[in-house]
Assembly symmetry: C2
Homo-oligomer: 350 residues x 2
């Protein structure tokens, strides 16, 4: 009988943040691909597009106009998934038909007035302004009495359902903790109560020793492919210091965060020499006015591409009904990402 080798044998890995297992099939990385190919994004966009509803000064939905903004620009989503209004709710529905109204606020954040940039190509000081805006929004939204959690995220690329290439992200702030956040908090808290330390601080310590899943790092943040990564090139950015949310960041930490955002997104673009699609988002403490020593600031990047700019991993079938599955091991992905330059392939000089 052969001895288990994680680079050869199918195995499951445990995600301690979500409390679930994923299936890793390293032996399957070489199967031929005959399925759907994504179309490549058109690489040439103007700095200003008169038809883009996110460019400065342009008309949005329902006749509103954007300001002639010069940095980061925040406005209320014109088609919000959540509404501020309180409604009267009484329910005598049977147990298996539980529902409840949900209040919230949806914002859109343009990262730059420049239509043809992305985080990967923005200057670090301009990314720092995005981080400033996230921080202000987290504080402002979080101070509303009916808001208990603020989800900051970005969908990048048409393949991720992003309907406009203008660099932008979103914020959905709401009364309840969303499912994934609640689950994460549950596991962070159980660990904290047991060990009196941060799960992610302890995890990071071991990753820094093991080295094999590190992608890049600086004085305040580390980017790595988690041991339990689901998406082929998934990355998690973790703060070295144990703090719970954006408001706790020092000036230096903010700049270091901007720098690692630049490094991670530039490496991503360099991987297949394409504007790399992903969904990313910050997981941090709820704003619900109680202490959250269990929370440790981190950011997830979930990118769909698998083998090239046009072949993505489909999380379908077995994955939807059974569990998440990957072919390439996290260690293999981390090595590929680690070995890529942080200088963007289009500029070769920033």
């Amino acid at each position: 009988m052969k001895t288990f080798d994680k680079n050869l044998h199918p195995h499951r890995r445990y995600n301690p943040l979500l409390g679930e297992w994923i299936l890793v099939s390293p032996q399957r990385a070489l199967r031929p691909w005959q399925g759907q190919k994504e179309s490549l994004p058109t690489e040439t966009r103007p700095e200003y597009d008169p038809h883009c509803y996110l460019c400065p000064g342009n008309e949005r939905a329902e006749g509103t106009h954007n300001q002639a903004y010069t940095d980061c620009y925040v406005f209320d989503n014109d088609f919000p998934a959540l509404l501020r209004d309180e409604v009267v709710f009484e329910s005598d529905a049977p147990d298996l038909f539980q529902s409840k109204p949900e209040r919230g606020i949806n914002k859109v954040i343009c990262f730059s007035p420049n239509h043809n940039l992305t985080l990967a190509e923005m200057a670090v000081p301009d990314i720092a302004k995005v981080v400033d805006t996230w921080t202000t929004q987290y504080a402002e939204l979080g101070s509303q009495p009916f808001i208990n959690y603020v989800q900051i995220f970005e969908n990048k690329g048409a393949v991720m359902g992003c309907s406009n290439p203008h660099p932008h992200g979103q914020i959905w702030a709401q009364s309840s903790l969303p499912t994934q956040v609640e689950r994460t908090q549950h596991h962070l808290r159980a660990y904290y109560e047991k060990h009196k330390t941060s799960l992610l601080a302890d995890y990071l310590k071991q990753e820094l020793q093991q080295q094999e899943r590190l992608v890049c790092e600086n004085g305040h943040f580390v980017a790595l492919v988690p041991f339990w990564a689901t998406w082929p090139y998934e990355i998690m950015i973790v703060s070295r210091r144990h703090f719970g949310n954006l408001l706790a960041m020092s000036h230096d930490e903010k700049n270091a965060f901007a720098q690692i955002l630049k490094d991670v997104t530039a490496k991503y673009d360099n991987l297949f020499e394409t504007s790399f699609p992903y969904s990313s988002g910050i997981h941090q403490a709820p704003t619900n006015r109680v202490a959250h020593p269990e929370w440790h600031f981190h950011m997830h990047f979930y990118p769909p591409l698998l083998r090239s700019a046009t072949v993505k991993k489909f999380m379908v079938g077995y994955e939807m009904l059974g569990e998440a599955q990957r072919d390439l091991t996290p260690e293999q992905s981390a090595k590929i990402l680690r070995d890529l330059p942080t200088v963007h392939y289009k500029t070769k000089s920033n």
Copy 2:
């Protein structure tokens, strides 16, 4: 203050099978779509395609040839995600780095020798043969000592990562309960222990009274859009009788199951007059040689399309980091599906 109206106000609904909430935003159904459009499948396929590795007699990977099969045809997946081999495993890995080898068997099932059919256009007796094959496979795979769970599923359509339009599904049988199945079993069991009845039997009773989420039904099975449906046109097929797996089906039940598979998939094709993509799969009792009175046979259909044959719902950003979100309510989707004919749009005569 207005009174809560599920057709107007954002709310969360609870999925009692998975123990998680989803966000429903009915007010958002009308936002304009400017994002990616899927390409339409080519509708004209030959009955036999000499280049298809699933057609009878043709060469597959590595020089193997398919039999000249005439009904349903099962073979071992040439690129399995799981392997049969047992490996020696000892681990002293720290708590946050848990992994374990996983054994299993991957099968491919061609539903028909005819390259240009799908379940939606197959005759009911031929679909019954597919159900027979699933049953035999469940029994055979489940009797292997190292197999404890058998996941039967289908990925249909290029948009679902299906690399070959030849009508086929897959089976992944394995030692462990996959994440989604374990979670489902946990909730089915907790309910069963508390009430001494099947969660899905009780749920079905109430759905049959409320009527508003029913899609179609026959003497033995009901198809409905679950109260907690995530995908725009998600459907669950539930058996009226409380039984745990395919082996418990009577002859009549098998035929009724084949019939409702035909009705559901034909309605789907009729919705946008296109070969409707989806992932589907059966959730049933594990084969781990203990009694499972909590399990109640059911089948999920998770289809991605939202507004037309080319516009899908993207489960990205907020959904990946926060929780699943839908615009159209399950009641609206159910009404649309219920009102569609079961006669396939291409034939108008079967």
